[in-house]
Amino acid sequence: MLPALVLDDMSVSFDGALALQHVSGIVAAGDSVALIGPNGAGKSTLLRAILGLVPLAAGSIEVLGQAPKAARRQVAYVPQADTFDPQFPISVIDVVTMGRAPIIGWWRRPRSVDRRAAAAALERVGLSERSRDRFGTLSGGQRQRVLLARAICQEARLLLLDEPFNGVDAVTQTTLIDVLDELRANGVAVVMATHDLAVAHLACGDACLLNRDQIAFGPIDEVLNSRHLRATYGDRPWVHVGDQVILANAAPSTR
């Protein structure tokens, strides 16, 4: 079976400065990969490159055997929920239905099959009763679930998520992890940017550690070790608070 994503020594540069370099790896159908690294490490840049929104300086990306732009219909993207204008006049169900746009096409209106898919996706994230409410009236976690529902009803083969667990409640975290597991069982590949190592462990089998360079890519239990984390986050990557371990460094390291 064709891998969902193949990264081959790819690099991205902005205005001549390298934002990300030497990233390689393969993501098979049903796999999930956590992109781990500090802010500015290139996680979002990598997601944008997979979407074909930024040009590559070197190397290549194949999505389901195609160039990223050609495969867009098969790729769903879940942006961070807190980047949206809470005043925007749009209902929850209309946000979810947007996920059907690549299937519906430019000129046609949503048909009953699209409405059913949107309603089912909203049901899956446990927000059916908020269907008619304005998107902006939902909590941050609920908005994140709505955006996930929008991605679900696109019926894509590759799902990209940008910091989906940022500042979300426990219900949302559990729902996200359950839904991602289901999607993977159905052969959907998942790539998510995160700096929450605990969640990465729960939701992903593989990890890609980034700090502009690729530090490591492989099974999460093997690559999440202290040597790699130091290389990713700098000399003091974590602090102990009681019996908890918390990543200390949110800024890019200056090795």
């Binding site: 006049p89 749009i90 947007m98």
Partner: protein
């Protein structure tokens, strides 16, 4: 209701009513998109960049709206190009384009002496002197603008809500932006004769801004905006006419329409504030 029929018994008032309804409806619909895309400053830029077109049309004794349309579209293309190339930040691009076009207009005007009347039309509109041709031009331009936004409605809303997502889905975001910018340009030109460039901005922002807190969708916002625009047009004309006939007070009709719209906006905002404080009291 005698005062209402009486206000519109004269032919010039009937023509004013027709153009006020057209411009109010079209401006109201477009205001929904201007508000969700935060294009108020862009609309303001256009009200200035049509100036050289009007000035040149005036010198060449051509219909003003044709000159305005050409200059408006030229500035829209220039802005969309600069914005897409990311050479400068959008606000700076608009400021450069606004002043450049306006300066050209000033140069043209400073070389002719016969421009005064056209200049007043341009700035403040002359809704009481519109003729059949003006009405046809407004209907045509406004109709095109509404058609453009209706056809692209879902894509325009998706792009306004989530530009990154729109691009990720493979939509040509810059083409959508250009289409909406052109639609706004058409409305600015359509409303020129009725309310003038200084006041057209009100039509392109206030109606949707009034409706926005009350609705959960862009379609109701556009329909509500059109109702606010049209009713403000009628009420403003009636007030201006009655003040002139009954009290011998001459109110500029275009300005009266805008102030009626502002009053509706103020009342709406007051109601939103009241609703909020009642809810707050109930919940505490």
């Amino acid at each position: 209701m005698a005062w209402l029929t009486e206000s519109f018994s004269l032919p010039f008032m009937q023509r004013a009513l027709v153009i006020a309804l057209i411009v109010g409806a079209v401006g109201g619909v477009l205001s929904a998109y201007v508000v969700i895309r935060r294009l108020a400053f862009f609309a303001d830029t256009l009200t200035h960049t049509v100036f050289p077109g009007v000035a040149i049309a005036s010198v060449l004794v051509q219909p003003l709206w044709i000159g305005a349309l050409i200059a408006g579209l030229a500035s829209t293309l220039a802005f969309t190009f600069l914005s897409r190339q990311r050479l400068v930040e959008d606000n700076a691009a608009m400021a450069v384009i606004l002043t450049t076009f306006f300066a050209v207009g000033v140069m043209v005007v400073s070389r002719v002496t016969t421009f005064t009347n056209d200049l007043i039309t341009l700035l403040f509109g002359q809704i009481l002197t519109v003729d059949r041709g003006d009405i046809m031009a407004s209907a045509l331009l406004g109709g095109c603008a509404v058609l453009l936004t209706s056809v692209l409605h879902r894509e325009l809303v998706a792009r306004a809500f989530d530009p990154e997502g729109s691009a990720a889905a493979g939509r040509p975001v810059w083409a959508l932006d250009l289409a909406l910018n052109v639609a706004v340009t058409l409305v600015v030109v359509a409303a020129l004769r009725a309310v003038g460039t200084v006041l057209v901005l009100a039509l392109l922002v206030t109606p949707a801004a009034t409706i926005r807190p009350w609705v959960r969708g862009v379609v109701p916002m556009a329909i509500g905006g059109a109702l606010v625009g049209m009713s403000s047009g009628v009420i403003g004309l009636v007030i201006a006419y009655q003040a002139s006939v009954e009290r011998d007070v001459r109110l500029a009709p275009g300005a009266t329409i805008v102030l009626v719209m502002t009053t509706v906006f103020a009342l709406g905002s007051l109601a939103v504030w009241a609703r909020r404080s009642i809810r707050h009291r109930v919940s505490t």
